[in-house]
Symmetry: C2
Subunit: 535 residues, 2 copies
């Protein structure tokens, strides 16, 4: 499909690695073109006979796209559909096909739905983009690295990066090049500096050609890249010939700015109890799908006029990770190489997952899916609000001083108006995703001062303090994720990490899973531990 006015992808074949260039299509695939000739009797394929698959029918009860996700379960699932064994005029989707070997491209009907959706919502900047189903973004990233990277390559990553992504390439002897980030995501100037000075900083070392990032609701920091930054980063990547891997599971969970509960309840009716999700000005009930689409910060894909963005999209956060189903959007050359790798590894995502998601989406239609997504966004917005409200309840939040880039600083409850209130941590109100990220300032604790006095280095003291504090949180029965888990690997060997910043540590807090009540207990316990350690 070509859109008038948009260019085709440029030739980026020089980015492919040796492994990928060596892959050839299975000779068995040659046979497929003859199989479909009219009148052909095929004794060639090795397909089991579908009449012998022991599933007769699958029925699903699914949510309506406009479901009020706060209502009870019975009211959620009024839509029913059936996937029968065999095709009929009313059933194109069949178990005979879902349970059979399928194309490595994935279901044509589902791909076509996704293509229409992507064209509309993302408006890719080049015309010949391809949609290729995959088995989840983790394996998709595996496939990207395995078509683009040689053993030992340097890869551009955010300075706090998703652990599974680097656990994939570190055993290949690859090394991360951490690029500073802040609450608005990766800092373009920092990226440019690294690339401009590469030959001086890393003499005789191959320049990186792949940037991995999570642009929306970043894991772990919750940061969301602004459009301006995305444009600047894309421009730099064009200049330095970098492929961007946009791992974007949280794209559809972009929130309106957080408003303090006190101000929110004044502005609105003022009667909503805190465990009822708050209607934000642009919540779905007031907007149609197009307004929701317009509210989303454009993707790297939509800025991409060359085909140098590999977008990893997934249904994990929108329809459930257990489906193990997502899709690449990328240029045809990369798609074809990924397809070759898929044929000899995963072959295809589960046919049952494909069939169920296909039927769900086709039942909903494009419009329905664009009602579902803002509803989901609203649910996670409420959860973001719960967590921010609770932090504001158990700590005092004060404006950040000039040297702190985060939105606010949390101090001991009741001391927010004290001029010399001691900072516990700073954080920014997440604009997307599932996580908040807090930065703790250790120097004002006596425990840290004692550790510094007896430690070989400040960094060592910081690490020791972090461990002791985390264990104390666990003793208090509240579990956070230590920020050190996200430290980039910068040397050969998984333990050679970017040096930790001394005097500060980080924790990731997820607001995606626990109930409002559990969250409150957790934040209260956390506040107790802070008070003890800072007293």
């Amino acid at each position: 499909m070509t859109f008038a006015g948009t260019p085709k992808a440029i030739d980026l074949s020089h980015h492919l690695n040796k492994l990928s260039l060596s892959r050839v299509a299975s000779p068995l695939k040659d046979i497929i073109k003859y199989m479909h000739e009219p009148g052909m009797i095929s004794l060639a394929g090795g397909l089991p006979n579908p009449s012998l698959f022991p599933f007769g029918e699958l029925r699903a009860r699914v949510y309506a796209p406009e479901t009020d996700l706060r209502s009870s379960e019975e009211h959620c699932s009024p839509i029913e559909f059936s996937i029968p064994k065999n095709a009929s005029p009313s059933h194109k989707n069949t178990l005979s096909a879902a349970l059979q070997y399928g194309s490595s491209y994935g279901s044509a009907r589902l791909s076509s739905f996704i293509r229409e959706f992507t064209s509309h919502v993302m408006t890719p900047g080049y015309s010949d983009f391809e949609i290729l189903l995959h088995s989840g973004n983790t394996d998709a990233w595996n496939k990207v690295v395995n078509i683009l990277c040689e053993f030992g390559d340097y890869i551009l990553v955010e300075e706090h990066t998703y652990p599974s992504s680097q656990a994939l390439w570190a055993p290949m002897g690859c090394k991360g090049v951490p690029i500073p980030i802040d609450k608005d995501g990766l800092i373009p100037e920092a990226l440019e500096l690294v690339l401009k000075n590469w030959d001086q900083t890393f003499p005789r070392i191959k320049k990186p050609h792949l940037l991995y990032l999570v642009p929306v609701g970043h894991n772990p920091t919750g940061a969301t890249l602004t459009l301006e930054r995305k444009k600047a980063i894309y421009k730099i990547c064009v200049e330095y010939d970098i492929i961007i891997c946009e791992d974007d599971p949280y794209y559809f969970l972009q929130f309106p700015p957080y408003v303090l509960q006190s101000q929110r309840t004044q502005e609105e009716s003022g009667t909503a109890p805190s465990d009822i999700p708050v209607e934000h000005p642009n919540s779905s009930s007031e907007l149609d799908g197009q307004a929701y689409v317009n509210s989303l910060i454009p993707t790297f894909l939509s800025l991409d006029v060359q085909g140098r963005v590999i977008r990893l999209d997934t249904f994990s956060k929108t329809l459930g990770p257990g489906n193990r189903l997502g899709y690449f959007v990328c240029n045809p050359l990369f798609a074809e190489r990924i397809l070759r790798a898929t044929e000899v590894t995963t072959q295809a995502p589960s046919g049952l997952s494909q069939a169920l998601i296909e039927e769900l989406l086709i039942s909903w239609g494009q419009e329905g899916y664009l009602r579902w997504l803002p509803g989901l966004r609203d649910s996670y917005t409420s959860r973001r609000d719960w967590m921010c409200d609770l932090i504001a309840k158990y700590f005092d939040l004060v404006p950040s001083p000039a040297n702190i880039v985060d939105d606010v600083v949390a101090v001991q409850k009741g001391h927010g108006s004290t001029k010399d209130a001691v900072p516990y941590f700073s954080f920014s109100f997440p604009k997307g995703g599932m996580f908040a990220w807090i930065k703790l300032y250790l120097p004002s604790t006596s425990t840290y001062q004692n550790m510094k006095a007896t430690s070989p280095s400040n960094e060592n003291a910081t690490a020791k303090w972090a461990e002791a504090f985390w264990m104390d949180l666990i003793k208090e029965k509240v579990l956070l994720t230590p920020g050190s888990y996200y430290t980039p690997i910068i040397g050969s060997g998984i333990n050679e990490r970017m040096p930790l910043e001394p005097d500060v540590i980080f924790f990731r807090l997820a607001f995606s899973f626990e109930t409002r009540e559990e969250m409150e207990v957790g934040i209260e316990r956390m506040a107790n531990v802070f008070e003890r350690w800072w007293s």
Copy 2:
């Protein structure tokens, strides 16, 4: 679990490659142990909230294990089960869990079913074997190669080998070492010869340490290894320290010996039309599950007292390949390394596939599954019989001369009693799987003699003849798979293949998919082409 009297796996860690030895567990996994502490509030996991997954309930209608697979669809699926959103006393299997991120081990309930089944049916020769779910044997083989092989390694393969298996390792610069096979599978003496003479034949080249084989209903040749050969091969592998990868999708499709239709109908009622499956003496209707188990040739796993067999088992041929679900049975060390690789790639098989197969198998129970399998075996036995009957109908079958190891030789219809009948092809009656494998003798055709006269080599003439003959079959509208697709790659580069044997070519015929009627049309067309080319 340890069985009294069976040893534990020996230390085989020296077989692991650098990539695999470099993998470490994700730090996020450390958190899991704290998550399950009573009273813990976890803000650590990044799980989406299951109340927001849009599936309310899944219902399935499935076949009874004792289903007569020749009956019509409505009679096949009397069992119904439901997978509700949330757990209840009667429902352990839930959509909330199936659609959530799951353990890379796979469902504990399903694994436990499989462990019991494997212990009973395979009786592994060592005690500490592990069950690890995977996403189909193709990806499982990918994982085996990626824990055991370095780039450039030599791998022991059958002289006709499954193309996807080598398309995986060939781009890694690995090379196949073809071991001769015949109708009873891989020839142990040939394997031993290669290993004994390795240092003379391949001076200064690292000896192979991995043998890949399809022991039952071999793809493409249909051969099934005898127990004697399995024992001999295992002994050689112990002696030369070889890991055996037993890719065994057809294990449960082991057939009784083929009996010519004329003799069969005499022995039996004599009234069964040829499109009704024939009841074999040991067909399921007369036997219980244990008798079926006893009828199966033991696996390499059951002979394995050291843990050097990696068994790739799959539901693809028994419950449908679209499930993309199977399992490794292997030693704990290899299982742990495969698990580490799984965490950063596929993560887990589809939760929906796991949940549906789990519920199906638990509905059936161990006994039910052991009724399903012989029923399925009988269906494919009938299909094997259809194909052999049809070949016997459209060709004359004569006993093989001393220099041909196959069961029979096919000659022109009506010439079977002629002393000097010209051989078209020889083949063996398959004892398992989905394929027959025919070997064509070209010298008696004038076309081949002409090609030989004008070709640079006999091998070249053979390849040209094969191509022309195949295209003529396609023109006649019957599609077979050329045997050359299965030729091992023996050099760096996917086109450097084992030299083709001159004067003969092979085709693979699948009896798994087409109806009896289609099969007849196909075989008749094939016979017409043979007659033309041999006239």
